[in-house]
């Protein structure tokens, strides 16, 4: 399931679990990696009602990654699906700076993200940004 980008700085592993598909990202997300990120995120588009994107192993992300997330969030919204983003540290700070955390449900850990799944009784943010 793992693909390596041409510059070997970014990988994505997909994990299916009840109620969600989890995309575990690893490495660095920049201009060079963003096109591959779009492709990898697209693989999670139709798989489950809820998509969890795990940035725990991402050591670098800039606005290229933010824009890819925004595109994916909008695509999910058009399909009535939900998105949860797992992030911490500098990556979470970046997402907060551009107020992504006001538009997308954020969790600190994959376990924390699962607490938002419908069977856990919590409600997600409205993902219908359009």
């Amino acid at each position: 399931m793992e693909k390596v980008s041409p510059v070997s700085i970014f990988t994505c592993r997909i994990q299916e679990e009840p109620g969600a598909v989890v995309l575990h990202l690893n490495g660095e997300i920049d201009l060079a990696a963003a096109p591959l990120l779009d492709v990898e995120l697209g693989r999670g588009l139709e798989r489950s009602q809820t998509v969890i994107i795990d940035f725990s192993e991402v050591v670098y992300c800039d606005m290229s990654g933010v824009r890819a997330l925004e595109r994916f969030h909008a695509a999910l919204g058009h399909r009535g699906r939900d998105l949860i983003v797992v992030s911490s540290g500098i990556i979470r700070r970046l997402f907060a700076l551009v107020e992504l955390d006001k538009r997308i449900t954020m969790a600190d850990t994959p376990e924390g993200a699962r607490a938002f799944l419908p069977h856990a009784g919590s409600r997600l943010m409205d993902s219908g940004e359009g």
Partner: protein, 142 residues
């Protein structure tokens, strides 16, 4: 010990990670905490992206980075030799709306660095430069 280094390269996003890591490694070597150096890394990455997209229209062009440490401040100046930016952007104080012109990237640079400015034309009389400063002394004395 104070020092200055100039890096010269071409705007190819596939090498940007090498440049970013070089800058953050230099900052860490001068006492900057790793988590703070990662802020500098993102700011420098945004400046590189800015040059690639806006100065050179997503094509190859010459870039230079001046790195300097004066015993207190760690400074990075990213110089391009591209077309003059007609809208003469500055570092926004508040998060701008996403209009696809790189305003949010400049805002992020301003938030992550202690000082940041966009210089038109650049100090070498052409293109645009983004000057960024992080105060290492505040961490050394903590």
């Amino acid at each position: 010990m104070a020092w200055e280094v100039t890096l010269q390269f071409v705007t190819d996003p596939r090498v940007f990670h090498v440049i970013r890591r070089t800058v953050s490694a230099a900052a860490i070597a001068e006492g900057m905490p790793v988590d703070v150096a990662r802020e500098v890394e993102i700011a420098v990455g945004e400046a590189l992206s800015n040059a690639f997209i806006h100065a050179y229209g997503r094509s190859a062009g010459p870039l230079e980075i001046d790195l300097a440490f004066d015993g207190s401040d760690f400074s990075v100046i990213v110089h391009d030799s591209g077309k003059p930016l007609t809208d003469r952007p500055s570092i926004p104080k508040a998060l701008p709306a996403d209009k696809g012109h790189g305003g949010r990237g400049l805002y992020v640079i301003g938030q992550l660095m202690d000082e940041a400015e966009v210089i038109h034309p650049g100090p070498r009389g052409q293109g645009t430069a983004i000057r960024m400063v992080k105060r290492v002394s505040s961490y050394l004395n903590a």
